[in-house]
Amino acid sequence: MIGQRSESGRAVGTYCLAGVGILAVSISVVVAIGPARVGVTDAWSVVLSRLGLAEVELSPLRAGIVWDLRLPRALLAAICGAGLAVCGAVMQALLRNPLADPFVLGVSSGASTGAVAVVVLGVGGGALSISSGAFVGAVVSFALVLLLSQTLGGTTERVVLSGVAAMQLFSSLTSFIVLTSGDAETTRGVLFWLLGSLSSAAWSEVALCALVLAGVLAVCLGYARTLDAFAFGAEAAATLGVAVARTRVVLLCATALLTAALVSAAGAIGFVGLVLPHAARALVGANHGRLLPVTAVVGAVFLVWIDTLARTVLEPQEVPVGVVTSLIGVPAFVVVLYRTRRAT
């Protein structure tokens, strides 16, 4: 039996290692994909030269395409995929709801409203960027959800219901602002961003999001066992020695922070947080010490490829990545619903 458990421990290590390998290969491959032909080895030589380890053999234009456009974009896709998937896994465990994710809890909608307020209404008088607007919006929306759910009784169902209410409220606010105040040009730009897009990825955003992801992931892994304890509900967790209220506050704030950072960098990319934790659970089971790292890797690989698909499928036109994730996510959502229906 002990052998069995350490075997499954090895299996997880293998999954993670294989996943990171696949992720590295994926990123190397996708930076070579696009209208400007750049080989995989050329792409790597650019990276090595920028790190001071080799000489550039490519034209500055192509080197710039790899280093300034494709590589940060692929990395941001990986970070967003990993981060959103981990947020979903944590929220689903914490709220005991298989459908919880940053969208359902209204965080993404709040971020969208914040961004629109900055771009269309000019809130902040130019001092605020679209990202910081989104960040403020996400935090405000999440604070509202927590306040509302506390007022309504503080149970997990109330948190989810409050999230849905906030999502509706902020979506309507966003539409209202866009439709009443935006000119056609801004409206189009904002709508594109609202659907989720990694096209404006810059190194500064990659660095910030990577930092937040690393911090939040570390916190969540520290709470992995505590999340396991929530399987039979908050009261059962309490009798296992878990400080339920503190755990909820810490983890919900951490995931809201991460969501805010990701949405402000890449817009509202839907369904990653909802669907990928379920895929990861099918691979390694529900133990969060194993589930969270695997979810992160699966999410990263998934979004790297989805984004590549989004920017190449209708070349030269780009499809918002959120549209592609939703096109894939909705059928997956139905499968999740179908499975939970059978389980009860």
């Binding site: 005991r96 709470y223 066992r225 304890a229 399987a231 039979f232 059962a236 009798t239 400080a243």
Partner: protein
């Protein structure tokens, strides 16, 4: 408060919820190693009493102590290593194996980053054997019968290595065979066990002491023989009954005759 009281003790605890008195100055002090049955009609406060003893609810007044120290001073994790709880019909949508569920009981024993130790494995394996689940360890929780689920929850509780075990109507909705089977298991555990029960005859068979609650107050405490009387059943449950006392030391048997006044 009496000094030198080992184990769990509720001292004149009351609990009000929504302006309604759910428990009214209840005192319970189970003897170490005994099985105490908590009886009473629906809404008499059985679950609330157990939740106060488990420390998941705070009494509105009065004090619950463990080894003479008030529960809030114990700290959650330290308390979880002393007092384990089996809830009424615990269920989950998470896909877990029996071993996963039982292993949850090790959570209070492990630090946030420490891996599973050989001791953890040994304790889980022993609890699976003790509850007769060794051959079902890799079964999915969702495929278990009601009786097997309760066994798995008891195994999980044992893995916490408690000295006090609280169970809230563990035999609800089980077939009679599983009820007897489960209560035999519970009454043989070398722990101080407090179990809320519905069935008076099962309580008489398996408990050393009974505490009877009615509308939030204790109306009788003692051995099954002393507690289960025609008058008490009339007063608390509103039923007519006969109590048969066997010649030997066996438990009394309640035979219901009808509703009072009919």
């Amino acid at each position: 408060m009496s000094g030198g009281q080992a184990g769990l003790s509720a001292d004149r605890v009351s609990r009000t919820a929504g302006g309604r008195l759910i428990l009214d100055t209840v005192s319970v002090t189970p003897a170490a190693g005994s099985t105490v049955g908590v009886l009473g009609p629906n809404g008499s406060g059985k679950s609330t009493l157990l939740r106060l003893l488990a420390g998941v609810l705070a009494p509105t007044s009065g004090l619950v102590t463990l080894d003479d120290q008030p529960l809030p001073e114990w700290g959650r994790r330290r308390l979880a290593k002393r007092v384990a709880v089996v809830q009424q019909q615990a269920d989950t949508q998470v896909e877990l194996s029996v071993r996963d569920v039982v292993s949850l009981g090790r959570i209070p024993h492990r630090g946030p980053w420490s891996p599973i130790s050989a001791e953890d494995h040994a304790v889980v394996a022993a609890a699976l054997v003790d509850t007769g689940l060794a051959d079902k360890a890799d079964r999915a929780w969702q495929t278990l019968s009601g009786g097997e689920r309760q066994r798995a929850q008891i195994a999980r509780a044992l893995v916490q290595q408690p000295r006090e075990l609280l169970l809230d109507e563990p035999t609800n909705h089980l077939d009679i065979q599983y009820q007897l089977d489960l209560l035999t298991l519970i009454s043989r555990l070398p722990l101080t066990t407090i179990v809320a029960l519905h069935d008076l005859n099962l309580a008489a068979m398996y408990c050393d002491q009974l505490v009877v609650l009615n509308r939030g107050s204790v109306v009788a405490v003692g051995t099954p023989r002393a507690v289960l009387t025609v008058e008490l059943l009339a007063e608390v449950y509103g039923v007519r009954a006969e109590i048969e006392h066997p010649e030997t030391d066996g438990p009394p048997h309640v035979r219901f005759l009808g509703v009072l006044g009919q």
